[in-house]
Structure formats: C-alpha cells, structure tokens
Amino acid sequence: MTPVLLLQVMALGLLTGLVYALVAAGLSLIFGLMDVVNFAHGQFLMLAMYAAFAVHAASGVGVALELPLVVLLLFVLGVATYRGLIARALGVATNRGMVQIFVTFGLGIFLTGAAQFVFGGDFRSIGDGMLANRSLILHGLHLPLAQVAAAVVCLLAFAALALISRTEFGRALAATREDREAVALIGIDRNRIFALGWGLGCAAVGVAGVMLVQFYYVSPNVGADFALIAYVTVALGGFGSLLGALVAGILIGEVEALTALLLEPSLKQVGMFAIYLAVLMLRPRGLFGRL
C-alpha cells in the first residue's frame, strides 16, 4: 500500500464522515431536546433527496435553488410532524415511551410506502448537475467535487447550528432541555420551542439530503442505511451534543474507510460497531455527552 492510497482513502472517509455527521446532527438535536428518538429520520432524509431531485428536474438551476427550497420544506415538515403527531403522542396517559417509538416508526414506514407510490421503486439520480461526476485533483488525490461541496456545506450548517445555539432561541432550547417544567415559569412556551426544535432538526436533514443527492442515488429505501449510521453516530458522540455528532460522524467515516482498506470491505460496519461498543463500555454517555 502506498502513502497516496492511504491518504486518498482517508480523504474520502473524511468527506463521507461529514455527511454522516450532518445527518446525525438533526437527530441529535431532537433527541437532546426532548428525549424522543425519531425513527423516521432516514425517511426525512429520503424526502429531502426526492424534493431536491424534483426541484432539479423542474428547474435545472442547481444547488443554489434546491438548498433554500428543500430546507424550508423540511423545516415546515418538522414543525408539522411535531404539532400533528409528536405533541399528541407526548400527551397520552400511559406507555408514553412506546407510543413515541411507534408513532415515528409508523411515520417512517408510511413515508417509505408513500414515496414508492409517488416516485416508484426505481433508483433515480441527478446525472447532469453542475457537480455530478467531476473531481478535484490535489497533489495526486482525486476528490469528487460533489462530495467536497457537500463537506463544505455540512461544515457551514454545523457553524450555523452552533450560532443558533448562542441566540436567545438557542438559550431557550437549552433551558427547555434542562428542565421542561421550570421554563414555563419564566414565560417560555414549551410547545413552541419543541416545534421549532423539530423544524431545525429536520432542516439540518434537508441540507444533508440536498447535498447527498448531488452524488448519490435516491430510492424509497435510501434513508435506512444512513439512518442506522446516524443512530450510531448520535450515541457515539453523546446524545444532544452537536460537537459530538461532528466528531463521531468523521470518526465513523474514517473507521469505515480504513476497515475497508486494511481489513475486509465486507467488514466495514463491524469496525464501526466495534468502536461504538468500546465507547459504550468505557464511556456510556458517549464522547461528548453531558447526560
């Protein structure tokens, strides 16, 4: 193995890891805020990808138009999901935990079925985008342009999320996370904060979906593989920690790539889960978890 090959694989692992991180960020945000695991997270990613695909097919303008439209759509979808489903699930008298799981799980299955009904089961992809099938060549390293763009946008999205957490809304989010009963006393509308939190979490997935569809195919089941990795990423980084999601996403991208290079490509998820188990044993709250 040459050093160039190792560097190449690590660079690609980093690019993939940043996408994993952004997919996980939305999940982590929602979980950290209200202890609800969104089992429809992968399906939201899938919807974002289809939406970007549709905008691309209709306009042909590119990422500049797809990003704002899809992010807005996913934000609205997130708020609607909270208002229509989650708030009601939180209000049930018994077995609240199970109801939350089944509501989001059922929503996921519904969305997959709806996508197959509307878009068909075929694999679709943007073949003629500005970023498609092009590579940046740096010192002998081939970096796919679409993935570089995705990585940059992911970092920007993380920066935006970090900035939001410093605003008044961000502080309200944090306060609600700490003690959801007490915030009502200081005039914070808990429901509104939760709804905005869902909107924000889904908007983050929207960003990931738009960037992903620039180089990845979309099908009704595309979310499942990414969602599994996102759950691991969140648990590894620490529930509710933004920095944790970023670091864990990159870590998983690298572990996957290096396992595939140095050991066996068919074992790459084993490497990922091995790290996860090790962290769970040594530091159950995750790398950056506060809980």
Binding site: F123, R124, N133, S135, P144, Y217, A257, L258, A260
Partner: protein
C-alpha cells in the same frame, strides 16, 4: 352495549371480507400460480417489472395476441378446456425470511399450483425449501446462484442459466476475443456483494480464472447497500487488472461506476455478472459512464431475426411497463411459458403429475423469446440448453457481441491498448 355490538359487527365484516374476496375472484377452472418477488424494499423496481412481465405472459396465454411462439396462440390452456392462468403475487421485501413466509402462505391459503420467483438467490434459497416441503414446483425464473440446484431438491426447476454457465461464457469470450485481437486478458479483478449471489458468482469466477491461467489481481467482497464504495474502488484501482468482473445489484452498480469515475479509474474492460448492470435505472443514473460495459445475459433484445416473437412480445410488455424487456423480465416471461406448457401437458395441477410434466419439458429455443437452444431440464432441475450471451453497451444501448455467430455488433476490447 351499542359500541360492543358495533365492534363485533366490524370484526365480523373484517373477518369475512377476505373470504368474500377470494371466492369472488376465484373463477371456476382457473389455474392459480404464485409469484414471489420483491415488490417493496431496495429491489422493488425489479419485482414491479417482474410482475408486469408475468402479467404480459398471462395475457398472451389467456388472450388472443397470436404471438409466434409456444402458447402464443392464446385462448387459455387448451388441454384444460381453455382454463385461464391466474397469478397471485406476494411481496418478499427482498428478505429471505419474508419470502419463506409468503411462499408458505401462497401454498396453504391460495393453493397455488406452482411458485415462480424471485430475483435474488438469497430469497430463492428459502422459497425452494418451502416448496420442497409442500411438494409444489418452484420455477426459478431469474436466480443465478449455482448452489440452488445443487442441494438435491426435487421440486426446483430453473429455466435460466446459472452463474457457472454465465461465467463460463465470460471466460470463453475473453479467450476468443484475446485470440481474435491478439490482446489476451492476463488478469481479472473480482468485486462482489456479500450475499449468496455475489459470493457464489465469485467462487465460480475464481475457479474459471485458475483454469484459464488468468491471475486474480483483486478479490473484494463488499457489504451490499453500503453508503460508499470509494475505498473498494481505490483497492481496485491499485490492483489495475485487465478485466473487472463485478457482481452487484442496482444500487451498488451505480455507486461502483460513479466512484470509479470520480477516482479517475477507468478499467480497460468490465464484464458484469448481469443483475444491477442491466437495469434501465443503472443506465439512466450513470449515463455515458456505462459506455463499453459488458455483461453476460440470458436474453438478447436484438436477436429479432432468429426469434420473431421478441418484437411483438416486447411491444406488449412495453405498453404495460413503459420500458423494453431486459435480461430479467424476459426470463420471467419464459418461466411462466415453460410452466404453463407443463401444466397443459400434465392436463392437471396435481403436483406429482405436474412435476413429471416439467421434468419431461422439451421446448425448442425458436418457440421462445430467448436466444437459447431450448428448454430441457437435467435431473437436478437445471435447464441445460440455456446458452448465455455477452452483451456490450454501445451508444447507450445493449448489443450482443458474443458468441460471434449470433453477434449484432463487434465488441470494443481495450485490453492491451
């Protein structure tokens, strides 16, 4: 009390509805055939296309389309008084356990005469165990894993070639093209998904390569449906074999081609083990990147001169599915044709007699839409007369390039250049 009554009424209706449904659609004398395919999940499109193909063939058998092939005259199965073929579809979700349960349901509840399936070899492995236990024929339309017919099962009949036959054709082609151009392939790289299809395919390729004296420069088994194949591609790039032999389903095939392009790796020749590479969505997704890709195939859409039924059957299928027949859908059509012929000759759906009729099948290739010598099963249930072809994407469409006798285009061979 009224609520209780209402609930009881609803429960009664819900329980009785399926009964009413079944009795209303089961017309007297219909021959019921089960079909297990992935209708949802990652391979859903393949199953949806398979359904369109089987429905097309049922329409040919039952209707009056007058196709120039066996049972093409239509009007139902003459030996059973013009009985119609009726299909019952079940969704395997491309999951071996679900496929097993659905096959069992079709046999015990729908009382199907036989089951056709199932695209992926992993699902065929479980379906064929169920059909063996219930002694109902399983017609393997498009499963290529050789091990399926090597397990001593009596109730499996595979109309299409296995990966042993397919891979044999690939290596024959490499030998022939090497002699013709003077540029022999000295090395191959294997990349294959980690289920029964990919693993079996690679095992045969390894053996054939050793027999042909061709070096295996890379042997990469990857996880199916993984979000990225870029590291795998880097390993292929580093090995830089003369011919790349991938065994992949659609999603992985798309990822593989894109990742190779992005990493600046253009293999001199690619000969695919069919599956994902022959799907229309693969061509749509990778577009010009697919130019020059070769694949083994059981079907040749361009063999219209030798097989007059191809054009009209394809037109009928196209009206239903909105796309041309491909290597998989053509095999689904042929599987139902072969099964219906056997049911007709048996004159009954009684399992033992149907099995005997299937075993005695003798169909001339010209009576089908396939480029094969014909259909005749060996004692393991494998059609020994299904000769594969090698096809190549030239100008965005598939052309048959081997065997040279039936080729419609000259192969583009870049090894040694």
């Amino acid at each position: 009390m009224p609520t209780l009554l209402r609930r009881a009424a609803v429960a009664l209706v819900v329980t009785l509805m399926p009964l009413a449904w079944t009795s209303s659609v089961r017309a007297a004398g219909d021959v019921v055939i089960g079909a297990v395919f992935p209708l949802t999940g990652n391979a859903a499109q393949v199953g949806i296309d398979a359904r369109a193909a089987l429905e097309t063939e049922a329409e040919i058998i039952n209707g009056h389309h007058d196709m120039p092939m066996l049972l093409g005259a239509g009007g139902g199965l003459a030996q059973l008084g013009g009985a119609h073929v009726r299909l019952v579809f079940a969704d395997s979700q491309n999951n071996p356990q679900t496929a097993r349960a659905e096959a069992e349901r079709l046999i015990t509840q729908d009382h199907v005469a036989a089951i056709i399936g199932s695209y992926t070899s992993a699902t065929a492995a479980t379906i064929s165990q169920v059909t063996e236990r219930y002694q109902v024929p399983y017609i393997s339309a498009d499963n290529s894993s050789p091990s399926l017919t090597e397990r001593g099962l009596h109730w499996i009949f595979r109309t299409s070639p296995t990966d042993v036959m397919f891979t044999g054709a690939m290596f024959e082609f490499m030998q022939a093209i090497g002699e013709r151009t003077g540029h022999k392939a000295a090395s191959v790289a294997l990349i294959y998904e980690d289920s029964i299809f990919g693993s079996d395919s690679a095992a045969v390729q390894r053996k054939d390569a050793a027999a042909a004296g061709i070096r295996v420069a890379a042997d990469i088994r990857y996880r199916a449906n993984s979000p990225s194949l870029s590291t795998e591609v880097e390993r292929l790039h580093a090995a830089d074999a003369d011919v790349l032999l991938p065994s992949s389903y659609t999603s992985d095939a798309i990822l593989l081609m894109r990742a190779m392009h992005e990493s600046g790796y253009a293999p001199r020749a690619i000969i695919a083990q069919d599956a994902g590479f022959v799907q229309q969505s693969f061509l749509d997704a990778v577009g010009p990147l697919a130019e020059g890709v070769m694949s083994r195939s059981a079907f040749a859409l361009d063999a219209t001169r030798a097989r007059p039924a191809i054009a009209p059957v394809n037109a009928l299928f196209h009206a239903r599915a909105g796309k041309d027949l491909n290597d998989l859908t053509s095999r689904d059509i042929t599987a139902l044709q072969v099964l219906a012929d056997a049911i007709g000759r048996a004159g009954t759906t009684q399992p033992e007699k149907l099995r005997a009729a299937l075993a005695a099948t003798r169909i001339d290739g010209a009576q089908t839409i396939m480029p094969w010598r014909g259909v005749a099963f060996d004692d393991k249930g494998q059609n020994s007369e299904a000769d594969p072809v090698i096809q190549q994407i030239q100008g965005g469409t598939w052309h048959t390039v081997f065997p040279f006798a039936v080729a419609t285009a000259a192969p583009v061979w870049n090894v040694g250049k």
